[in-house]
Amino acid sequence: MRLAQVRDRESTGPILQVKNLHVHYFTPDGAVKAVSGVDLTLNAGERLALVGESGCGKTTLALSIMRLLRPPARIVEGEILLDGRNLLTLNDEEMRLSRLADVSLVTQAAMNALNPVMRIEDQIIDGLQDHGYQWSKDEFQEYIRTLLANVGLDASVARMFPHELSGGMKQRVGMATATVLNPKLIIADEPTSALDVVVQRQVMTTLGRLQRETGAAVILVGHDMGLIAQFADWVGVMYAGKMVELSPVEELVSNPQHPYSKLLIQSVPGLEEKRERLIGIPGMPPRLLSLPPGCLFAPRCPSAMDHCFRVEPALEAVAGNRQVACHLYANSYFQSNGAEVDA
């Protein structure tokens, strides 16, 4: 998987490599296969968005990279290499120090992530001290002022308690905290889903500016295609724990390839024209307890073929730097059947 050549940057090596990741939730009814065999490569400074319906595994994938999954969830197979180092072989203390320093998380509800009885600056200093920074109080405060300025907040916020801040301000504090040690990768899990549209825009442009200034790679988890189009370079469309399409954002929006991506894009209402009918995606995602053979989207797919119910399509490269897991685009299948690829 090559996500390179999209933007020019100094360091070009992959910052994150996820190889054949499988995550299961072990429930009394059996193992729920939340992530099944995802491969992913992200270069420094790239922005990848993970999109899909609730329960498609996008948050589980993001939390696996942070190694923040809790029982009954467990990574059963695979490798996660951050800058060449396999996170899954680190011990708990090494991983704890790696969070914030190498990879950090901006959560959905930053309002709940802050300690209500600590001033903002003390919470940030806490993280710094924990990672071995022994500065003077003045040095810490000076640094925190810069951090807050980076996310567009006034220096007075440092002395405030979380309840004195609005939702958007708290989310920006969350971002300032996430970038405190200049991590190589920032994971933002639906960072604006609890915010108003105007605030959402401010928060997302702040995240974009931080990304440009720090050069970190960002994984944005979301389900709002509009928001993703405003932020990401690449979009990974997930369905039932698998990556079904990986594509540059412009191309996904203007010309989705996988039938699921097509329906997903179609279901987004726009302001361009007023539609007689709003189009949804019929049916429901499969239960992840026992996965049927073949393509998991086949039962809901408008262009499903007999073949789809038997053989699972692999994620394969198609034209234009994209990857699709669908038999419609699988060259081998069409060559053997003599059909034309309609792309």
Binding site: V198, M204, R209, H223, Q230, F231, V253, L263, G270, L271
Partner: protein
């Protein structure tokens, strides 16, 4: 014809007395009617704290106004008793935001459908009640055998929300107040839920007030829209005018903040050109409530409160930028709306 629901110069103040400086004015002098003879789909939009939910709670009669009156078929809602009140409870139905919180997890999901039939005495026999429920479920695109007998956790968020719409449909209401019905549902499921709402409006002639912060869906399913800010109506009219060509600076800000899928990376390009005006915390406005965030703010905005101006047919805006237009004042906001179903006699009056 008496409107079915009417807000007459209604204000709602939380905390303190009306003239207490520390009180919060959630709804500020709103006059608005919902007709029942011409079913409408109206959106009520604005950010958190703009008063849109308080307004819908006033219309439901669960909150009483501090100033002004809420009227149901010409009678004061707060004083309704007996049969008239029961008729109101049938006529006006709510749909709430959270499809997870309204269900009791220990009861089957259909419990609240059967309760509605029982309490409102909608059916003469259990068989008839079941038939009504099955019909209501079918109307919102659910198959009865998929829902009846299941527990809430066995249904998806979209299914639960449609069960709530089916419940609202059971008493054959004239008005449905839907408060953010899709904000907690997956984007791909929103379309089906909004389609069910539209089907109720078209198929059953039910007027729908769609309370939302999502202007895109409001544009898609509604004819008219009211934009609220700080408890006041700041702009209202047909969705084509208000959303496609917003006049009030706040509406412009809202429309500009809609993440557009087709305009890839537009926000960051715009940010380089200046972006959004941050709140001016240095000055407190006693005039226009939007003055401290307004990119077009003028000196008089800080001290004087703008009136609503009728800038064209089917549109009013509360902004001094339009003060050379006729004053609309605090008249019925619904007067500006386009009502295609109505006869010519009830067309919006031209000034």
């Amino acid at each position: 014809m008496t409107p079915i629901l009417e807000l007459r110069n209604v204000s709602k103040v939380f905390g303190g007395g009306v003239f207490n400086r520390k009180s919060t004015v959630a709804v500020d002098d709103v006059t608005f009617t919902i007709e029942s003879d011409a079913p409408t789909m109206t959106a009520l939009a604005g950010e958190s704290g703009s008063g849109k939910t308080t307004l819908s709670r006033l219309l439901l009669g669960v909150t009483n106004p501090s100033v002004g009156q809420v009227l149901y078929r010409g009678e004061d809602l707060a004083k309704l008793k007996g049969k008239r009140r029961k008729r109101f409870l049938l006529d006006v139905q709510p749909i709430y935001q959270d499809p997870f919180g309204v269900f009791n997890p220990f009861y089957r999901a259909d419990h609240l459908l059967f309760m509605a039939v029982e309490k409102f005495k909608l059916a003469k026999s259990p068989q008839e009640g079941r038939r009504l429920i099955e019909e209501a479920l079918e109307t919102v695109g659910l198959r009865a055998n998929e829902i009846l007998g299941r527990y809430p956790h066995q249904l998806s968020g979209g299914q639960r929300q449609r069960v709530m719409i089916a419940r609202a449909l059971l008493p054959q209401p004239r008005v449905i107040l839907a408060d953010e019905p899709v904000s907690m549902v997956d984007a791909s499921l929103r379309a089906t839920i909004l389609e069910s709402l539209r089907a109720l409006n078209r198929g059953f002639g039910i007027s729908i007030l769609y309370v939302t912060h999502d202007l895109t869906t409001a544009y898609q399913i509604c004819e008219n829209i009211i934009i609220m800010y700080g408890g006041s109506v700041v702009e209202a009219g047909t969705v084509e005018k208000v959303i496609r060509a917003p006049e009030h600076p706040y509406t412009q800000l809202l429309v500009n903040s809609i993440p557009r899928m087709r305009a890839v990376r537009n926000w960051e390009q715009e940010e380089e050109k200046g972006g959004i005006v941050e709140v001016d915390g240095t000055r407190k406005s006693v005039g226009c409530k939007f003055a401290d965030r307004c990119p077009a703010v003028m000196e008089k905005c800080w001290t004087q409160t703008p009136s609503l101006y009728r800038t064209s047919d089917n549109r009013i805006s509360r902004c001094f930028l339009y003060e050379d237009h006729p004053v609309f004042g605090e008249a019925d906001v619904a007067e500006t709306f386009a009502r295609p179903q109505l006869g010519s006699a009830a067309q919006p009056q031209k000034q």
